[in-house]
C-alpha cells in the first residue's frame, strides 16, 4: 500500500539575517487511514514539517510525496492544484473569508478547483457538524468553536485523502476542542481519511494513533496508542534534553 504522505530527507532553512534551520533532515511516512499527531517544543520545526508536507511551503531540499506523486517536483501552480484535490486544511486561526457565508466558505476550495459542489453532500457535511442553521451566516457572527467547525467542514467536503491540521484546537475552549478532535477522529475511523495534526497539547495528541516527536528540526521519538500522560512525559524529556 502506498503511504498517504511520505517525506524524504526534508531540509528547510530560512534566511533571516543568519540562516535558521527549521528542518534538519526529516524522513517520515504516514500510512493511509491513520491519525498522526506531530509534537515538539516551540521552534522544533513541527509547523514547518506540516507546511512542507502539505505543499504550503517548499522545502530547501528533500522530497514530498502526496498519494505517491512527488509534490516537490512540480511548479507553484501545479502544486496548488494538486494540493487542493488531495488535501484539506484546518488551521488554528480558522482561515475563513469574512466576506463569504458559512456555506460559501465551505465550498470555496471546490469552487477554486472549478468543481461544482454537490448540494446534498454539502448539506450532509454541514449537518454532521451542526452548522445547518448557520449556513447563511457570516463567520464574524460565529463563536470560535463554530468557526473551527466550519473549517473542518471545508476540509471534509472535498473528500480529500489527507487532512492537515495545524494547532486546530489552539484557540478553542475545552469543549469545542474535544468536538473538533472527535470529528477528526471520526474522519479517520469512519471515512478512511488520513489526518496529520500539529499540536502542543498532550490531550489533543492522545486522540491520534501515533505521535511523532520533533526537536531542533529532527525526529525525536515516536509513541503508539498514546495517552496524555505518556505524551507529556516524553515532551518533558525532550525539553530537558
Amino acid at each position: 500500500m502506498t503511504d498517504a504522505v511520505r517525506v524524504e530527507s526534508l531540509y528547510r532553512t530560512y534566511d533571516a539575517g543568519t540562516p535558521v534551520t527549521a528542518l534538519d533532515g526529516v524522513s517520515a511516512a504516514f500510512a493511509a487511514g491513520t491519525f498522526t499527531a506531530v509534537m515538539g517544543p516551540s521552534g522544533s520545526g513541527k509547523s514547518t514539517l506540516l507546511q512542507c508536507a502539505a505543499g504550503l511551503d517548499r522545502p530547501s531540499a528533500g522530497r514530498v510525496f502526496l498519494g505517491g506523486v512527488e509534490l516537490t517536483a512540480t511548479g507553484d501552480t501545479a502544486m496548488t492544484k494538486f494540493r487542493r484535490e488531495r488535501a484539506g486544511f484546518v488551521f488554528q486561526d480558522y482561515n475563513l473569508l469574512s466576506a463569504l457565508t458559512v456555506e460559501q466558505n465551505v465550498v470555496l476550495p471546490l469552487r477554486l478547483a472549478g468543481r461544482r459542489p454537490d448540494r446534498g453532500r454539502v448539506r450532509a457535511v454541514l449537518g454532521t457538524l451542526g452548522l445547518t442553521e448557520r449556513a447563511g451566516e457570516l463567520p464574524e457572527r460565529l463563536s470560535g468553536g463554530q468557526r473551527q467547525r466550519v473549517a473542518v467542514a471545508r476540509a471534509l467536503v472535498g473528500e480529500p485523502a489527507v487532512i492537515f491540521a495545524d494547532e486546530p484546537t489552539g484557540a478553542l475552549d475545552l469543549r469545542s476542542a474535544r468536538e473538533v478532535l472527535a470529528l477528526l477522529r471520526t474522519a479517520v475511523r469512519d471515512f478512511g481519511r488520513t489526518v496529520i495534526m500539529v499540536t502542543h497539547d498532550p490531550m489533543a495528541a492522545a486522540y491520534a494513533d501515533t505521535v511523532l516527536f520533533l526537536a531542533d528540526g529532527r525526529l525525536a521519538g515516536q509513541l503508539s496508542a498514546p495517552t496524555p500522560e505518556a505524551v507529556a512525559a516524553h515532551l518533558t524529556e525532550l525539553v530537558a534534553a
Partner: protein, 412 residues
C-alpha cells in the same frame, strides 16, 4: 474567481474608496481635458490650436498623476487585505487565480469610477472652455463638444491604469510564502524619475535660457518628475528622520502636493515678475490660466488622495490602537502618538516637496531672469505648507479619534 472578487467588493466597499475616488477624479479630469479635443474638431484654427495645447499639456500632467494615484491606492487596498489573500492561497487558490481576482476587482472599480465620472467630466470640460473663452484664447462662438476622444481617454486611461496597477500589485501578493517588499525596483524607478527631473532642469537652464515663457514646459516637468522621484523614496526619507517605513504611503501624497504646487506657483510668480511691463505673447495669458487651473486641480486631486491614504492607513491600524488601549494607553496618549507621527509625515513630505520644487524654480529663474534664487515672497509657500499640515492633521486625527472611540475592547 470574479464572483468572489465582486462579493468581496460588496462586503468591504470602504477598502476601495480611495481607489475609486482617485480613479473617479482622474477620469473626470482626463475627460474634461480630452473633451477640449472633441471641441477643437468643430472650432476655428486659432481656437483649435489653443484647445489642443491646453488638452495635451494639462492632460499629460493629469495622466501621470492619475496612474500614480490609482497604483498607490490600489496597492494599499490590496496590501490591507494581505491576510485575506493568504487565506485564499491556503484554501487552494493558484497564483493566476488570485491575479485574475485582483485585476478583476481593479477593473470593476475603474469601470464604475469612469462611468460616474462622465457627467462630472462633461461639466468640468464646459467650465474649462468657459475659462479659455473668458481669457480670449478661444473664440466666443465655439460650441462645447463631449465626444469619443473624451470617453476614450477617460475610460481607456483609467482601465489601462487599473489593469497595470492590478498586475503590479498581484505579482507581489500571489507569490507563496513570505512576501517581502522589494525596494530595488522602487529605488530604480525613483532614480529614473530624479534623472529625468535633473535632465529637464539642465535643459531649462541651458537650451531654454532666454526662451522666455517657453522654458515653463521643461521647468514644470522637472518639478513633477522630481516630486514623483522623491515621493517614491518616502521610506528612505522617513528613515532619515528616524521613523519606520509604515508611514511612507502618507508621505508620498504630501510630497507630490507640496512639490508640484510650490514649483508651479513660484514658476508662474517668476514669470509674472519677469514679464511685468513687457509686451507678452498672446498665449502668455493662456499659460497663466492653465498653470493656475492645473495647480488647482492637482491640488484638489492630490489633497483627496492624501486624505484617503491617511484614512486608509489609520483605519488599518485600528487593531494596533486597540492593543495600545488594552495595554493601558489612554485615548489622549494614542492621539498624541498619532499626532506626533502625522507631524513627522507632514514635515518629511513638505521638505521633500520643497526640494523637488527646486527642480522647477531654480532653472526656470536662471533661464527667465538670470537669477537662480527667486525674489518672490515666502507667502505662497507658507500657504501651501499650511494646507498640507491642515489636511494631514484633519485626516489623521479625525480617523484616529473615530477608531478609538468607546471602550478599549478589541474589535475585529
Amino acid at each position: 474567481m470574479i464572483a468572489i472578487a465582486l462579493r468581496t467588493l460588496r462586503h468591504r466597499p470602504g477598502g476601495f474608496a480611495a481607489t475609486f475616488l482617485s480613479a473617479f477624479l482622474g477620469a473626470s479630469l482626463l475627460m474634461a481635458f480630452a473633451s477640449l479635443l472633441d471641441t477643437a474638431a468643430g472650432a476655428d484654427e486659432a481656437s483649435a490650436e489653443s484647445l489642443g495645447t491646453t488638452a495635451s499639456v494639462a492632460g499629460g500632467w493629469c495622466l501621470v498623476i492619475v496612474v500614480f494615484a490609482v497604483t498607490s491606492t490600489l496597492s494599499l487596498a490590496v496590501r490591507q487585505r494581505g491576510e485575506q489573500f493568504a487565506v485564499l492561497r491556503r484554501a487552494g487558490a493558484t497564483g493566476p487565480q488570485l491575479r485574475r481576482m485582483i485585476v478583476g476587482e481593479a477593473v470593476a472599480v475603474a469601470v464604475l469610477a469612469a462611468a460616474v465620472a462622465v457627467p462630472v467630466g462633461l461639466a468640468s470640460g464646459r467650465v474649462l472652455l468657459g475659462l479659455l473663452k473668458d481669457t480670449g484664447q478661444v473664440a466666443e462662438g465655439v460650441g462645447y463638444a463631449f465626444g469619443p476622444v473624451a470617453l476614450a481617454a477617460g475610460f481607456g486611461v483609467t482601465l489601462v491604469g487599473a489593469v497595470i496597477a492590478g498586475f503590479a500589485t498581484s505579482r507581489r501578493t500571489s507569490r507563496m510564502g513570505v512576501k517581502r517588499e522589494r525596494p530595488r525596483a522602487r529605488r530604480i524607478a525613483a532614480g529614473l524619475f530624479l534623472g529625468a527631473a535633473a535632465g529637464c532642469a539642465v535643459l531649462t537652464a541651458t537650451v531654454m535660457d532666454g526662451k522666455g515663457i517657453d522654458a515653463m514646459q521643461t521647468a514644470g516637468q522637472a518639478g513633477i518628475w522630481g516630486s514623483i522621484g522623491l515621493a517614491l523614496l518616502a521610506p528612505e526619507l522617513l528613515r532619515l528622520t528616524g521613523s519606520g517605513g509604515q508611514l511612507a504611503s502618507a508621505v508620498m501624497p504630501v510630497t507630490l502636493f507640496s512639490g508640484i504646487a510650490t514649483g508651479t506657483v513660484y514658476m508662474q510668480g517668476i514669470e509674472d515678475d519677469a514679464a511685468a511691463g513687457q509686451i507678452r505673447p498672446d498665449y502668455a495669458r493662456d499659460i497663466q490660466t492653465l498653470n493656475y487651473v492645473v495647480v488647482g486641480m492637482i491640488t484638489v486631486f492630490v489633497a483627496i488622495m492624501l486624505v484617503n491614504t491617511l484614512i486608509a492607513a489609520t483605519v488599518h491600524r485600528r487593531r494596533e490602537f486597540a492593543q495600545l488601549r488594552l495595554a493601558g494607553a489612554t485615548r489622549g496618549q494614542v492621539t498624541t502618538m498619532v499626532a506626533g507621527e502625522a507631524l513627522r509625515v507632514t514635515v518629511t513630505g513638505i521638505l521633500a516637496g520643497s526640494a523637488a520644487s527646486l527642480f522647477t524654480i531654480l532653472p526656470f529663474g536662471s533661464a527667465r531672469t538670470g537669477e537662480i534664487w527667486p525674489s518672490a515672497t515666502i507667502a505662497p509657500y507658507a500657504v501651501i505648507a499650511a494646507i498640507a499640515v491642515l489636511l494631514t492633521a484633519t485626516a489623521t486625527l479625525g480617523t484616529t479619534r473615530r477608531s478609538i472611540r468607546g471602550p478599549a475592547l478589541l474589535r475585529a
